[in-house]
């Protein structure tokens, strides 16, 4: 039995002889992105008392090749939220342009954004769409693309504030799966960084007790562990702190105080004989 999709609905070769498919389209069923090409690795984020800290390294890999080393995977939306992108970089660029259009739509509206009202600064951008709204929007976008069999091959973290001005952190993946948590990580970070962050912020209450310095410290620690263990990562990274005052984004940070001493104890790789 021929199980290839190209053979679906066609007369069986073993009964009717070879099927003459020359007058049919030969491409088979419509296919879209089957796998990501140029990829970004983990995004990590944790909530704290006044906001959210989010970070991602500056690498875009082409398979296992460290192809682009200055890729900014944290994108600011309306000056009030940050979206962190893991997964396919071209899909991220498409989403970035799409969010840019959305931000322009928001600027048509004359109502100033909640953050600009709070900080008494007119320059924080316009629009009422907060991070919680953005999360719902992106979930619906991703789920729809999945149902079109043309998924955007990303996992996104959305960091910002909700309508009540409370810190908001949430995730959407390429299937449209959406959830929130006091700390979140995509990709390899889900295995390596998440346990570290959960030690510091196991619950919403614990996250609400963290200071900004503690949260930034935890995220930096996670980035360092990820650089030690994830072969698709880089020691240059971007980190953003989102509060009601706006977004503080640093895009060219270097991992400090690395120690590779642990590497000596690792056995079972390369030319070693265990």
């Amino acid at each position: 039995m021929d199980h290839r999709p190209q053979a679906w609905g066609r007369p069986r070769d073993d009964v009717y002889g070879a099927y003459d498919g020359s007058y049919l389209q030969s491409g088979g069923p419509k296919t879209a992105t089957q796998s990501p090409v140029v990829t970004g690795t983990s995004v990590v984020a944790i909530k704290y008392k006044d906001g959210v800290v989010i970070a991602a390294d500056n690498l875009a890999s082409y398979g296992s090749l460290a192809r682009f080393t200055d890729v900014k995977r944290l994108r600011v939306f309306l000056g009030t939220s940050v979206v962190g992108f893991g997964g396919d970089v071209s899909d991220m660029q498409w989403l970035d342009r799409h969010l840019n259009e959305l931000a322009i739509d928001e600027s048509y509206d004359d109502e100033p954004s909640p953050s600009s009202l709070l900080s008494a600064s007119p320059n924080k951008g316009h629009g009422k769409l907060n991070a919680a709204n953005l999360h719902v929007y992106l979930q619906k976008l991703m789920y729809r693309r999945r149902n079109d069999f043309d998924p955007l091959w990303n996992q996104l973290l959305i960091a910002g504030l909700d309508a009540a001005g409370k810190p908001h952190l949430s995730s959407v993946d390429l299937r449209g799966t959406a959830f929130t948590s006091p700390s979140l990580a995509t990709g390899f970070g889900a295995a390596l960084a998440q346990p570290i962050m959960r030690r510091h912020a196991p619950t919403e209450e614990a996250a609400a007790a963290l200071t900004r310095e503690e949260a930034v410290g935890v995220v930096q620690e996670c980035m360092k562990v990820l650089y030690y263990r994830d072969a698709r990562s880089l020691d240059r990274y971007s980190i953003a702190v989102v509060t009601k005052e706006g977004v503080e984004l640093k895009e060219d940070e270097q991992l400090e105080r690395q120690s590779w001493a642990f590497a000596e104890r690792i056995k079972g790789y390369g030319t070693q004989t265990v």
């Binding site: 875009a60 682009f68 200055d70 890729v71 900014k72 995977r73 970089v89 991220m92 660029q93 498409w94 970035d96 342009r97 840019n100 259009e101 931000a103 322009i104 600027s107 048509y108 004359d110 100033p112 007119p122 320059n123 951008g125 316009h126």
Partner: protein, 295 residues
């Protein structure tokens, strides 16, 4: 009025024997009845202002904005028939978006003016349509920075995108006015609507000309704009109005290259100064009259 067109005004796209399109001229009349709008281009930005005549006490104060954002760096204000203006804005937003879809960067102000000028001109050509009953003022700031492209993720080459002459200035403030005929020019200061004559006279007194050498700062321009709208309103005193103002500065200015409403505090300060300047003028005139009486 009825005898003016003598049959040549019954349809668009028909010239009169002496080379006029009466429908376009009547559209200009519609503009001349609208609330005054002005635009001022100064060295570090553009200010747009409009005299929003209050047509009913049942309308919420400060609602129903007349100045619209077309793209983040572009603003439009218009005088004349408001529904025509709304459609103009819709179209301008579509044009700005389609430019971004194609070129992945913001539309330069000049290109938006050109496209919208072409659009309005098309409405003077066909039997099936009428010309726009508005004159629109388009203000924008074209970024002076190396801006890259929308969705760009990296730094790109360290030499920049290229195509630029070293030492030459790029970007800056731009101001255009588009008339119902589709005619558009770039201006240092533009005024249209009912009070345009008075407004133009005031604009001409300002030091706006010459690139970068205009002495007027953006904040001063906001105050001048408020004063000019108050002066232009003077002949129309029996009707109440609201002043609506927006501004666009460069990346290092107060709006960071975005088109935004002028902050409430600055607008109120500008209005206070505008009212004071009008009162002072009245007092001076009275004084002169008193002096004459004494003589």
């Amino acid at each position: 009025m009825t005898s003016i067109g003598t049959g040549y005004d019954l349809a668009n796209s028909i010239f009169s024997p002496d080379g006029r399109n009466f429908q376009v001229e009547y559209a200009v009349k519609a503009v001349e009845n609208g609330g005054t709008s002005i635009g001022i281009r100064c060295k570090d930005g553009v200010v747009l202002a409009v005299e929003k005549v209050i047509t009913s006490k049942l309308l919420k104060q400060g609602a129903n904005k007349r100045i619209a954002t077309v793209d983040r760096h572009l603003g439009v204000v218009y005088s004349g028939m408001i529904p025509d203006g709304r459609h103009f804005i819709d179209r301008a937003r579509d044009e700005a978006r389609s430019w971004r879809d194609t070129f992945k960067n913001p539309i330069p102000t000049a290109d938006l003016a050109s496209r919208m000028g072409g659009y309005m001109q098309a409405y003077t050509l066909y039997q099936s349509v009428r010309p726009f009953g508005i004159t629109a003022i388009v203000g924008g700031w074209d970024s002076e920075l190396e801006s890259g492209v929308d969705g760009e993720v990296g730094r790109g080459p360290s030499v920049g995108a290229g195509g630029k002459t070293p030492g030459k200035k790029y970007g800056g403030p731009f101001l255009y006015m588009i008339e119902p005929s589709g005619l558009y020019w770039g201006y240092y200061g533009a005024a249209t609507g009912k009070g345009r004559q008075a407004a133009k006279a005031e604009l001409e007194k300002l030091d706006l000309s010459a690139d970068g050498e205009s002495s007027l700062t953006l904040e001063e321009a906001v105050k001048e704009a408020a004063r000019i709208i108050y002066v232009a309103h003077d002949d129309n005193k029996d009707k109440d109005f609201e002043l609506e103002m927006s501004w666009i500065s460069g990346a290092d200015g107060p709006t960071k290259g975005f088109h935004q409403e002028v902050p409430k505090a600055l607008r109120e300060e500008a209005e206070r100064l505008a009212k004071k300047s009008l009162e002072d003028e009245d007092e001076e005139e009275e004084k002169k009259e008193d002096d004459k009486m004494e003589e």
